[in-house]
């Protein structure tokens, strides 16, 4: 397919959608599927057919819509009315009211059980109102298994623009101008990373997409991969063009079978239509993508361990330097970015880096996807501008604490992050502010805890996770996490003395500074941050000397 054929195909797809009166999306993200959305989809499709409405109303499976604990969700477009907790029984009432009588069914509207007056137009609901969707745009509105759906919303336009109207240097300049930083957690400026890989001269370079999302409670990457896989492919292809790579790998964790299935399907469709493979869209640029499936090791989210795993070796990290940009996959210059970073590339290319940089704070541009979980009323997937306060996320978007409980802390960044106490609810969610509080942005997991949480137990839980997930290569992480875990358990059991607490603190700093990779380097964070903000809880458990 050349670029004119691409345009024609996109026009045709748009035209097809124009002829339809309505489009109904049934959320078929992993979360909604697990509560039965596939049966709802099938029944709804059958009902529409039985009523002879298939030329007016299209029923498609879609990716994640956001409010995951209200699922299965059904979205009625273009009205943008979302129904919650839909099953095969109450579906009939939705069809009768919304489709037959063209009247919204109040008692099944999104958040009908918790809001005094639920919103018919979902985007007016506070859950969505405070959000700004860039990476997640289209996720939940299109069928991730049909490339036509992606083309109809302007898909692959960015790749077309990059290949024919921009030089690789211009693409990199655009990404630099956007000021986007790595969404995997470390926050390294993406444009600088691209530029450094671009500058290395090599016969072969690689692009890697890191989809080995392992933080407990995090599901951002999974939702993007499931809901809009073509967006990631497009971002990877643009990256390949910019740095001069002809081969890409998407490393997706094995626990995400649906994401893998949809991503592989997307690769097949894109290759079939000449959007991947040799001479993409008739240009001189060739790029192919292969999926690699992770085997359940958290450490493989660390870039050097991930690279070792792709090479077929044991997934253990290597000391840096050399950085992957210089010597990565099979010793070649390698660009490795997170799923969410690639998801933001296409809009940056189409609308410009300046446009992207307008959102967010001075040092953290754009938006960030968070996975809300824990004791919060509306858990799920959200995307907000950088700089949104934690209070806005928890109380306005997330609807506050379950059961009218009191907020105690929010844990960001998973096992590598820390806890933010109530006193800092007004912290701006950006890379620097979170680090200043002893936490990190991380990949975007956000676990909310109420007063019933014991912070020593929280620290112990995350330390147990790091202890189990340590690869065992370096001594500080291998033995240090085990020692810290045992000491935390001792404190939790009320058997520890002040000496134990002092040793724990000394070990924490040692493991943080002496470990080989980021896993060990950040493993003490939950401990150190809870010690910083909730020291009294530790001290209350310490045995007093007689």
């Amino acid at each position: 397919m050349n670029r004119h054929e691409l345009q024609a195909m996109a026009e045709k797809a748009k035209e097809k959608h124009k002829q339809l009166k309505h489009k109904i999306c049934v959320c078929c993200g992993a979360s909604c599927i697990s509560s039965g959305s596939e049966d709802v989809l099938k029944k709804l499709q059958d009902e529409i057919k039985a009523r002879g409405l298939e030329n007016e109303i299209e029923v498609v499976p879609s990716g994640c819509m956001g409010p995951c604990n209200q699922g299965p969700l059904v979205k009625y477009l273009p009205e943008n009315t979302i129904y919650q907790h839909i099953n095969c029984e109450n579906l009939d009432r939705v069809i009768q009211s919304q489709i037959v009588e063209n009247k919204p069914l109040e008692d099944l509207l999104l958040f009908a059980d918790s809001r005094e007056k639920p919103f018919v137009k979902a985007d007016e609901d506070p859950f969505f109102k405070k959000q700004l969707k860039i990476a997640l745009k289209d996720c939940g509105d299109i069928n991730p298994e049909e490339i036509e759906d992606y083309l109809a919303v302007g898909g692959y336009k960015a790749l077309d623009k990059a290949l024919f109207l921009m030089s690789p240097e211009e693409v990199i300049a655009e990404v630099k101008q956007s000021r986007i930083r790595g969404r995997g957690g470390a926050g390294y400026p993406t444009g600088l990373k691209w530029e450094s890989v671009y500058k290395y001269i090599s016969d072969q370079k690689y692009v890697i997409c890191n989809g080995d999302e392992g933080d407990p409670g995090a599901f951002m990457d999974r939702s993007v991969l499931e809901g809009n896989p073509h967006r990631i492919l497009e971002g990877m292809a643009i990256a390949g063009y910019a740095i001069g790579a002809s081969k890409g790998f998407a490393y997706i964790r094995g626990e995400y079978p649906l994401a893998i299935k949809r991503f592989e399907l997307a690769i097949k469709q894109a290759t079939k239509h000449g959007l991947l493979g040799k001479n993409i869209l008739g240009s001189t640029f060739s790029f192919e993508v292969e999926v690699r499936i992770g085997a359940g090791a958290f450490v493989c989210g660390e870039e050097t361990a991930l690279i070792a795993s792709i090479e077929g070796k044991r997934g253990t990290p290597k000391p840096r330097p050399p950085f992957p940009a210089e010597s990565g996959l099979w010793g070649k210059p390698t660009l490795i970015n997170n799923v969410e970073t690639y998801a933001a590339i296409a809009p940056i290319i189409v609308k410009g880096g300046e446009w992207y940089g307008e959102t967010g704070t001075a040092k953290s541009a754009g938006t960030k996807v968070f996975a809300l979980a824990g004791k919060i009323n509306y858990s799920g997937l959200i995307e907000v501008p950088m700089g949104t306060t934690l209070r806005e996320i928890v109380f306005e978007i997330g609807g506050g604490i379950q059961g009218g409980g009191e907020f105690k802390a929010a844990q960001t960044g998973g096992p590598s992050g820390g806890c933010i106490p109530e006193a800092h609810l007004d912290v701006s969610m950006d890379y620097e502010s979170l680090v200043n509080l002893g936490s990190i942005m991380g990949s975007g997991g956000l676990i909310v805890m109420d007063k019933s949480s014991d912070m020593v137990d929280v620290a112990r839980y995350f330390m147990e996770f790091c202890m189990d997930e340590s690869c065992g290569k370096c001594v500080p992480c291998r033995v240090g996490t085990k020692m810290m875990h045992d000491l935390l358990q001792k404190i939790y059991d009320g058997k520890a003395t002040q000496i134990d607490l002092d040793r724990l603190e000394e070990l924490a700093v040692y493991v943080k500074e002496a470990s080989l990779c980021g896993l060990g380097g950040s493993a003490p964070n939950p401990l150190l941050s809870t010690l910083r903000h909730f020291r009294e809880e530790y001290e209350s458990k310490i045995l007093k000397e007689a």
């Binding site: 090791a297 450490v299 044991r314 290597k318 000391p319 330097p321 202890m467 189990d468 997930e469 340590s470 690869c471 065992g472 290569k473 370096c474 001594v475 500080p476 291998r478 033995v479 240090g480 996490t481 085990k482 020692m483 045992d486 040793r503 000394e506 070990l507 040692y510 500074e513 002496a514 470990s515 080989l516």
Partner: protein, 235 residues
């Protein structure tokens, strides 16, 4: 070759830019403690004993894997580094079951020497006392996991120098173990050539030849590098 200036512990040196900090320090008799490093094998930066401070870099760097750069200011003996060397040594001893008095390596053990170097008078952390196997299935050699410190020098010697790749690592975290083939008894290995390089590479009494009693083990870790150098000359 053009030499570059570096400052190590406040002294000026002109050094070869292709060398690692460890190589440069050893050439100039600056002591850097190591355990997973063995000349002739690929360095992996795993034991973290050779950490040094480099001005302008806020992370500690492993000397064995970091190349020198022009005007690098390196510190090898700060209080922090000494403290961390001691903690690392304590963790080594606390991790498995190291009983010097009954060990074949007693008196000639790199781990024991490390203890003396960091002036280890006690171990402040509780011993983990894991249940470890002693594999005596090989006709000539014994693998005692109680004494293994997971430096993986045996793995690298077997893989990189002998080319047999009998040894590898299984499991994660504190449960890692060195394995023969796919975790079969050493004596049943289909890849082991019984060359004995692993024995000489091993810094402790974890791998030893049968018919040796306490304190009698003579190891020659330098033989690994001698072999590597000899092969280079032949080419």
């Amino acid at each position: 070759m053009n030499k570059i200036p570096v400052i190590i512990d406040d002294k000026n040196f002109e050094v070869d830019p292709h060398k690692t900090i460890l190589e440069v320090c050893r050439e100039h008799d600056i002591e850097i403690l190591t355990m997973c490093h063995l000349k002739g094998l690929t360095d992996i930066g795993a034991c973290r004993l050779c950490l040094v401070e480099v001005e302008g870099i806020n992370k500690l760097l492993s000397a064995c894997t970091t190349k020198v750069a022009a005007n690098m200011v390196i510190k090898t003996q700060t209080e922090r580094i000494k403290k961390y060397q001691r903690i690392t040594t304590e963790l080594f001893f606390a991790e498995r079951n190291h009983v010097c008095a009954v060990c074949v390596s007693n008196g000639k053990c790199e781990l024991q020497n490390l203890g003396y170097k960091v002036e280890l008078d006690r171990i402040r952390y509780p011993h983990l006392f894991p249940q470890c196997e002693v594999d005596t299935s090989h006709p000539w050699y014994v693998m005692d996991h109680n004494r293994c410190i997971m430096c993986t020098r045996c793995v690298r010697a077997c893989n990189e120098v002998e080319g047999a790749h009998n040894w590898d690592v299984m499991n994660r975290g504190h449960q890692v173990r060195i394995i023969s083939d796919f975790n079969t008894p050493w004596g049943e290995s289909t890849t082991c050539t019984s060359c004995g390089k692993c024995l000489h590479a091993c810094p402790t009494g974890a791998i030893w030849p049968k018919a040796i009693v306490q304190g009698q083990l003579e190891k020659n870790p330098g033989m690994v590098n001698e072999l590597v150098e000899r092969r280079k000359m032949k080419l």
